[in-house]
Symmetry: D2
Subunit: 284 residues, 4 copies
């Protein structure tokens, strides 16, 4: 489809849908999908609008530009994305490769409109996977004192390659504050527990010790506050007393793969809007 996706949020008020939809209709745009959410508790309006621009009566860029007047009058924050679009994405890894493989596989199948600019690892374990996939691999040493410098290098890579989304695919490093802030809303992590349970290290071991009957994984935006960013997607799976911590790791992998895949898909299709510490998600 040749088109546009509009994400918008603004203070709640009468007539928003009418105004936005009329703007689209006035220039012969076709609303393909209109998803909306009114947050009564915070007096906020959120929407995602998918527009087929095939029959548009004006130039697409003029259409986008002209929206400014309406947007401002609504005191809105908004964003247009031209379709089709492939988001430039970097994947950060350590040793574990199941999330990376899942991302590569779904990308190849066309499930996720991303272009993987590079795979960056603080170990070189995943290099062969990157090579096979024909994607540049960058090994960045982050051990001990090299950590601070390592994050600078990653930053430079992301900027050089005009990366729009950074995915932490089981990247076992805590991000420094400045990094989280510089790329705010553009870093997605998979945490291997059903957050907010089992924050921090070794969540499957924690889950085993606690004797839970369901384990899970959480895909979330990264903020300076460890494992506490807005949640995009969660997945769970039943476990029993006979499952060892190793079994939980095995079973949890399926949760992680599904949660991260859906999380990325929602993000790159502009199906998420972050508001405070929550993510509004219009699933497909």
């Amino acid at each position: 489809m040749k088109g546009l996706i509009l994400k918008i949020n603004c203070p709640d008020q009468h007539g928003i849908v009418a105004k936005v939809a009329s703007y689209v209709a006035d220039y012969a745009g076709n609303l393909v999908e209109f998803s909306q959410f009114t947050d009564d508790q915070n007096g906020k309006f959120f929407a995602r609008v998918e527009i087929d621009t095939t029959d548009l009566s004006v130039d697409v860029d003029d259409f986008v530009k002209g929206f400014e007047t309406l947007g401002k009058s609504l005191q809105a924050a908004w964003h247009f994305r031209h379709q089709p679009y492939k988001m430039r994405t970097a994947v950060l890894v350590t040793k574990t490769d199941h999330c990376l493989n899942e991302i590569l596989w779904r990308t190849k199948l066309g499930e996720m409109p991303i272009e993987i600019t590079s795979i960056i690892g603080n170990r070189d374990t995943c290099k062969s996977i990157a090579d096979n996939a024909g994607i540049p691999f960058h090994h960045v040493d982050m051990d001990g004192e090299k950590k601070a410098e390592g994050f600078q290098k990653i930053r430079d890579l992301l900027l050089d390659q005009k990366v729009e989304l950074t995915v932490l695919a089981r990247f076992m490093q805590i991000l420094p504050d400045w990094f989280c802030q510089e790329f705010g809303g553009k870093i997605i992590n998979i945490h291997h527990s059903f957050l907010p349970a089992f924050i921090g290290a070794n969540p499957y071991r924690q889950a085993y010790e606690r004797g839970v009957k369901l384990i899970g994984a959480t895909c979330h935006y990264v903020t300076s506050d460890l494992d506490a960013g807005p949640i995009i997607e969660q997945e769970v799976q039943r476990v029993q007393h006979f499952h060892s911590p190793q079994d939980l790791i095995r079973l949890g992998r399926d949760c992680e793969r599904n949660a991260i895949a859906r999380g990325i898909r929602y993000h790159v299709n502009d199906r998420t809007i972050i508001h405070k510490n929550r993510a509004i998600v219009f699933p497909d």
Copy 2:
């Protein structure tokens, strides 16, 4: 909330959302929820619109009436429902009472805006439950030759009591064609299998024989074609080889209760639109 729910469907065309939303905004209605679906394969547009009418600049009835011009111009079928609303509902039962109990319980809790006009049974097993709940119980004999007459009696009861929705809560009788047609789109059934698997009698026994690893229940609109009407909701549950047919009945009850409760809730909140043999459902 004082308000209106509008359900509408029409041939797909540019500007529908704009026109509908503008109509609401023009008279100072507030769109609380706007759910829309465009069926590309059939060129049809469907929407459910929840309108807060507190600040409406005209009389609500005039607002509803005035919509006619727009509706006709869109070649639409549409329906307004005043809120709050309690749908007049009859529950048909035989012996089994778990679905009936679930409906009574959720109604009492305020989960389902219905007014139960009567409980009708071809056995009187559930009479005491009806009595306890203070709801009239009608025993209609349907054995053998009395079946045809029985359905006439039920029809008369439904018409007399101005029933808007008839729920078959494990009512073990096959409805005659004329009945299905007279109350088309206004009868909801719970079938104790994951349709279209195991149509007809003894679905749990069938499921046991087939050795399935998941059992289910299906809540659907009733049509003349047995167990083949539009599906509103389905629910499943894992089973294992050691579960006997009796265990499946026990476990299946939980599926049935949840599926019928959600199905009714969606219907009475006008969250369903029937199109051909499918039900569009905007869940909450």
Copy 3:
């Protein structure tokens, strides 16, 4: 079935199954179900054995007594329960009645072999439900300074009525240490979150604030450590951004009802064995 259920745990060693099964076979008992778990990490063996005693060659009491020699030689802790059996159960409530209703309903259907000795409430909201069900209701005032005395009264009731299982069916009071210890392993609670997430008060509000995409409920044994006892069963349900805290309460009820029902069923059928802070559960 006329029979026995044997629960046993002992240090892991060769030949336990052979010895236990041979003891049963030697006296013509028939093993109907044999469930076993070896905990490698702790060097412990656990089993649940269901024995049909119809053809037993000795008196059942002699059979039970005679096991002592074997049990001691295995350094085991064990327990026999005669079947059929109805466990004497007290249900503690405050205002909320959905868990209570679920327990009553499933008991009536024969899903849970319990005899409800009494319903005890620190409010009298649930009295009418108890009356309808023909079960004694005891109102125990626990407000302010009466709390300590209240727990004494409850203790006396439980002892007087020879209660074997106490179910906290949304009983909104924190139990004193001495109470937890006196009835250790015999109190089951339902917590309205997916523990260990959202310990303490208002878990649905906490879940809403955190923006989780799945909510849950946890059925667990009560220990002195609040919400930290061995978990018997957990249940989850998907939620979305548009669900308010009230919606979470509504949706969570279904999790709570299912989790508590299964938890009680497992306990009264001797399908649980507590070991340290985990519950071994052999589900049916």
Copy 4:
């Protein structure tokens, strides 16, 4: 672990567990896992026994051989498998590669103890995947009149390579009767629907037309009767009205991958026993 897995089934009778467990104990074998199921309806006993043979007092082969006397006396069918073991497995494909990829990936991770002898395709689409994985690929032409000859070639390949398990990983060919019979109980298929719903071609299209709210996949043993063999595992996923047939294919892939992976794992770990048209599965 150095050990044995024993699968056994026989007419139900007193003392089976005692006899089998005593045989193991008599020769200092250690029961690591003992799973048992008594089918009352058919008067049959089934068990899977995992034995650590580290401390065995006799030679393992003698232990296995000596069991014959007991086995015969129980009128049992039984099978011992030495551990660790890698089952020689052939994967049959057409064009679709997601199930193949899943199998390769989980094998590499150590989740499935198989040795893939070859990948056989009636198209050569998956050749590059086989090449990358270092596994021989055989293209067998099965179009039109070459079909009969094609199955002969596959048979020869399976026999030459001493294949013990054949996995149909979205192999779009109906197997001839003689083939199903020759390899009875040794062919596993993944069907892309929740069987027995939507047997035959295009199940996702069928599911779309029927308007189901859950789609699924079924992993089953292949018999001469199309899509009707014993079910090992099933997986489902929620769908909504807005999901097109293409969306169902996308979402269904996740069901297929999980169901086939678990199905194979259960089979190769001897966790399945086929009885009539049902599969007894002791999951891990």
